[in-house]
């Protein structure tokens, strides 16, 4: 009798459990740099993801987002991905933030067959190895230099110097910039790689100043950008244009330093003045909630989490989710999104990057023409 009671109870509990697994909240993973060197940018990704989850909940879509911190370290990112797919049993993962981490995690996604949606890491390689389970929302690194140089091409500059952070993203961006610049007929006069976080770049900048290039192409993260521009002003480095690739040139903090940031041209994945559905509203709500302007990282992550959750809703398994991501198309704050194969990329969204220039302390979109409201100011003149 006791045995029968046990069997019936167990069967009843199993019956109760089965529908929960099928219709319960969608469980997705999110890997981000919450601590470590990239924590400042990581915070923007966290905020974007939180807004996406709340927006989905307000529409009645319940999702559970399991968040993991990689501290900007690829080893931790891989451990986080493995934990999410094996222990937490998430259906898909958004992240990680840095190129180095995303590249390592991407290499394992096909092994575990759990889709990885990279929101903001730019290294080309991530979606160039034919991984079936890796998708990327943002434009890869080669587009940064392409749009920046396209913007400046009509003014026929002749020489270019590179100053860039010794990171995966920095090296990758400059490598493609060198190819694009050579194709444009630009002569490279200097290429200076620097270690992040150093207090003094004056000697490097003095070397660039002595060569007097038409363009100075910079790749820097957060506060390094301010340091470099401040020291460039100190030593009197005044090329025809400063071209900034990387997060450092697209932050509100950089814009607030008007005496050094004025007229700097930068490439970005997103601005709030483009006519993508909900972009302006996202910026207003983000500022109201977090007290600061959203960066493109926040917007990319918001959209990535939204796409992952919406796709996961009707997918019973990671394999089905992979097929949904591959076949789907979306149109939100990042504009039209489709994961396609082109120019050697696999599952890459062909995202149109924007070029903006700081004019009177405000980022103004100056390229491409369909999104621009202001004309580029060239040459640079302090």
């Amino acid at each position: 009798m006791k045995y029968m009671f046990f069997v019936i109870t167990a069967a009843f509990m199993l019956l109760l459990a089965l529908p929960v697994q099928g219709t319960g909240p969608v469980k997705i993973g999110f890997i981000n740099s919450i601590t470590g060197k990239e924590a400042q940018i990581g915070e923007n990704l966290t905020n974007g993801a939180a807004m996406a989850v709340d927006d989905l909940k307000s529409k009645g879509i319940q999702i559970v987002m399991v968040q993991e911190d990689d501290g900007g370290d690829p080893k931790n990112a891989l451990a986080a991905y493995e934990k999410l797919v094996t222990r937490d049993r998430v259906i898909g993962v958004v992240g990680p933030y840095t190129s180095a981490s995303a590249n390592v995690v991407a290499s394992r996604a096909d092994q575990y067959q759990v889709p990885l949606l990279v929101p903001a890491a730019a290294k080309e390689e991530i979606t160039m190895k034919g991984y079936k389970n890796v998708f990327r929302l943002n434009a890869p690194a080669d587009v940064y230099s392409k749009v920046l140089l396209n913007t400046i091409a009509p003014y026929r500059p002749k020489t270019i110097a590179y100053v860039y952070a010794a990171t995966d993203f920095g090296v990758s961006t400059v490598k493609t910039a060198q190819l694009n610049a050579a194709a444009m007929g630009l002569k490279e006069v200097a290429s200076e790689k620097y270690q992040q976080g150093q207090p003094d770049y004056r000697a490097t900048l003095a070397k660039i100043k002595a060569i007097q290039p038409d363009l100075v192409f910079l790749v820097s993260y957060d506060a390094d950008a301010i340091l470099l521009m401040r020291q460039a002003k100190e030593i009197g480095l005044t090329p025809n244009a400063f071209l900034g690739a990387g997060a450092g040139y697209t932050t509100a903090q950089f814009a607030s330093q008007q005496d050094i940031s004025s007229l700097v041209i930068s490439a970005t994945q997103w601005t709030d003045d483009v006519n993508w559905p909900g972009a302006a509203d996202f910026a207003v709500r983000y500022k109201a909630r977090f007290g600061k302007q959203p960066t493109y990282h926040a917007a990319c992550t918001y959209e990535a989490v939204r796409i992952m959750a919406l796709s996961a809703l009707n997918s019973k398994s990671p394999q089905a989710l992979c097929a949904t991501l591959k076949a789907g198309s979306w149109n939100g704050i990042m504009g039209p999104v489709r994961f396609i194969n082109y120019s050697g990329y696999t599952n890459q969204n062909n995202h149109p990057m924007l070029v903006q220039q700081l004019q009177s302390g405000k980022y103004e979109t100056v390229y491409p023409s369909q999104f621009s409201r202001k004309k580029l100011v060239y040459p640079y003149n302090r």
Partner: protein, 289 residues
């Protein structure tokens, strides 16, 4: 032009490195412990300068008058309540204590101020003096260097002329003998740690004007301070001063004539060369290596 520009930049940044390293060297000399929380003490000075400027509009150089006594007391109390307890324990315990204290400080700062880097912008932050030949001298760096010179001279006079300074030197030379001579070595340790904290925080307050401030901003200076201390001779305050200038110059010259990517390589080659030729450091005494 490039040579003189790099020379000036190297000397000016080297001055700030020197100030940071002098604090560490003093602590090592008197207490014979390596302070792994030194970078966080610099970070403390950075945040103090930032908030005194943004909230009370006190110029960062003037704010040193507030920062120095406060951080001296902070260091003194930390020594009495924490460091003093492990003075007679193995060096591993001392290292773990200072590492742990540093972690508590940086993570508390992370909670209090978030990871957003703060930029201290004064009216002269990006100003420079133009010299003939296209050479420019950063005004905040020049002022920092002058203040460093004043603080170094004051420290020298304090150590050479005052009774407390002499007692500190005696403790540094032979702790047991100093105790036998009636010097309160425990108090000397607290004064040394307080002074080391004061110097680290002052260096932080000055570098804050040309660097960015975040909870982990002191880490890079911790490594540089260690390098400078060993290069100049552990425990030698003068050695730390000269070592700072050497490192600043080596960084600037390698950035100018090799590549900025190579500057750490050159610095450590120089460091190894000095250690091989003179293991006790430039100004260290034989047998102290």
């Amino acid at each position: 032009m490039l040579f003189f520009q790099s020379l000036i930049s190297g000397i000016l940044i080297g001055g700030v490195y020197a100030l940071a390293a002098m604090g560490m060297s003093l602590v090592f000399g008197v207490m014979n412990i390596s302070n792994f929380a030194h970078g966080e003490l610099m970070m403390l000075g950075m945040y103090m300068a930032y908030y005194l400027f943004t909230l009370l509009n006190i110029d960062p150089f003037l704010s040193l008058l507030i920062i120095m006594p406060l951080t001296f007391v902070f260091g003194y109390v930390i020594e009495k309540t924490m460091i003093d307890r492990v003075m007679d324990h193995p060096s591993e315990n001392q290292i773990l204590l200072t590492v742990g204290f540093g972690l508590i400080m940086s993570n508390s700062a992370l909670l209090a101020f978030t990871s957003d880097p703060k930029i201290l912008t004064t009216s002269y932050s990006s100003s420079s003096i133009a010299l003939p030949g296209g050479i420019s001298v950063s005004i905040p760096m020049l002022l920092s260097f002058l203040v460093t010179c004043i603080l170094t001279a004051a420290l020298y006079l304090f150590l050479a002329k005052s009774r407390t300074g002499m007692a500190l030197r005696a403790t540094s030379q032979n702790r047991e003998a100093a105790q036998l001579m009636g010097i309160n070595v425990s108090r000397m340790s607290a004064i040394a740690f307080g002074t080391g904290t004061l110097l680290a925080a002052s260096a932080g307050a000055m570098i804050a004007q040309t660097y960015y401030i975040d909870p982990f901003a002191g880490h890079i200076f911790l490594l540089k301070s260690f390098t400078i201390c060993v290069l100049g001779g552990l425990g030698s305050v003068i050695g730390a001063g000269i070592g700072g200038i050497i490192i600043g110059l080596a960084e600037a010259m390698s950035s100018a004539y090799l590549s900025s990517d190579w500057k750490d390589v050159l610095v450590f080659i120089l460091f190894l060369a000095i250690l091989l030729l003179r293991p006790q450091g430039l100004f260290g005494k034989k047998g102290e290596q």
